[in-house]
């Protein structure tokens, strides 16, 4: 079972790589940014795959990764999420929504004095955990989770 899943994941990764190559072929070199888009992680359809894609499988839960999001979001199309890491040497933050079709929403790398803190607005298909992964300079991952209830249909929760 597990082996089968891994094959599937590998297959998905390979398709992603081809798509990436195609996209790169269309773009002029000057348009391509330094960082490659991590397609495997963005195209993963479950949270485990997305975490694996960013290399954060088995991240330790930490209270120093802070998520500020509403307990109840009336409009799932615009859910304000503030994330921050109080862990020293945090170089990267990723925001995931557990039950979205593609859980990974975004990943940010910080450098040159940028504070590991982001405010953003994400879409949520349904009530779900919001998970934030912080990566430190020494390659360790820390995760925090918060449930956000989404009331679709304007019942006002």
């Amino acid at each position: 079972m597990d082996a089968f899943r891994r094959t599937l994941l590998k297959g998905a990764g390979a398709t992603g790589a081809i798509a990436a190559a195609l996209a790169a072929g269309v773009l002029k070199p000057s348009q391509v940014l330094a960082a490659e888009i991590n397609r495997a992680a963005f195209e993963a359809k479950d949270i485990a795959g997305a975490l694996k894609g960013i290399g954060a499988s088995g991240a330790a839960e930490s209270k120093d990764v802070v998520i500020r999001a509403p307990d109840i979001a009336e409009n799932g199309a615009v859910v304000p999420v503030d994330v921050a890491s109080n862990i020293p040497n945090t170089i990267s933050l990723a925001v995931l929504v557990d039950k979205n079709p593609f859980p990974l929403t975004s990943a940010f790398d910080f450098a040159n004095g940028a504070v590991p803190e982001m405010a953003l607005r994400v879409k949520m298909g349904q009530t779900s955990l919001v998970e934030v992964v912080a990566k430190t300079a020494d390659g360790k991952f820390y995760i925090a989770k918060k449930e956000v209830k989404v009331t679709v249909g304007g019942c006002g929760g």
Binding site: A23, V26, L27, Q31, L33, A34, A35, I37, N38, F42, A77, V78, V79, D82, V97, N100, P101, F102, L104, T105, S106, A107, F108, D109, F110, A111, N112, G113, A114, V115, E117, M118, A119, L120, R121, V122, K123, M124
Partner: protein
Amino acid sequence: MADPMKIRAQMKGDTADIRVLMSHAMETGQRKDNAGNTVPAHYIQSITVDVGGKRVLQGQTGPAISRNPVFGFKVKGAKAGDKVVINWVDNKGDKRTDEATIG
């Protein structure tokens, strides 16, 4: 070419508080139009922010970022008068670069 971004950058103590509003449809590729055809995905894929000539933030985003994305972040060690340059590229290769000065 997409509409310009709105960038607000202000010093608060020794930290620059930067907020940016990008104008983008951010189609997920999941939605169907009235005729039942899937609307193709069209979303910002990559964001970079330079302050004072140094790359401070590099982001990868997926279709789950809300329409007309807003991002807020903070940069230590920046000073008033530094130039903030923000760039995004979407999955169709459209891009946009805008700049502002920290006030």
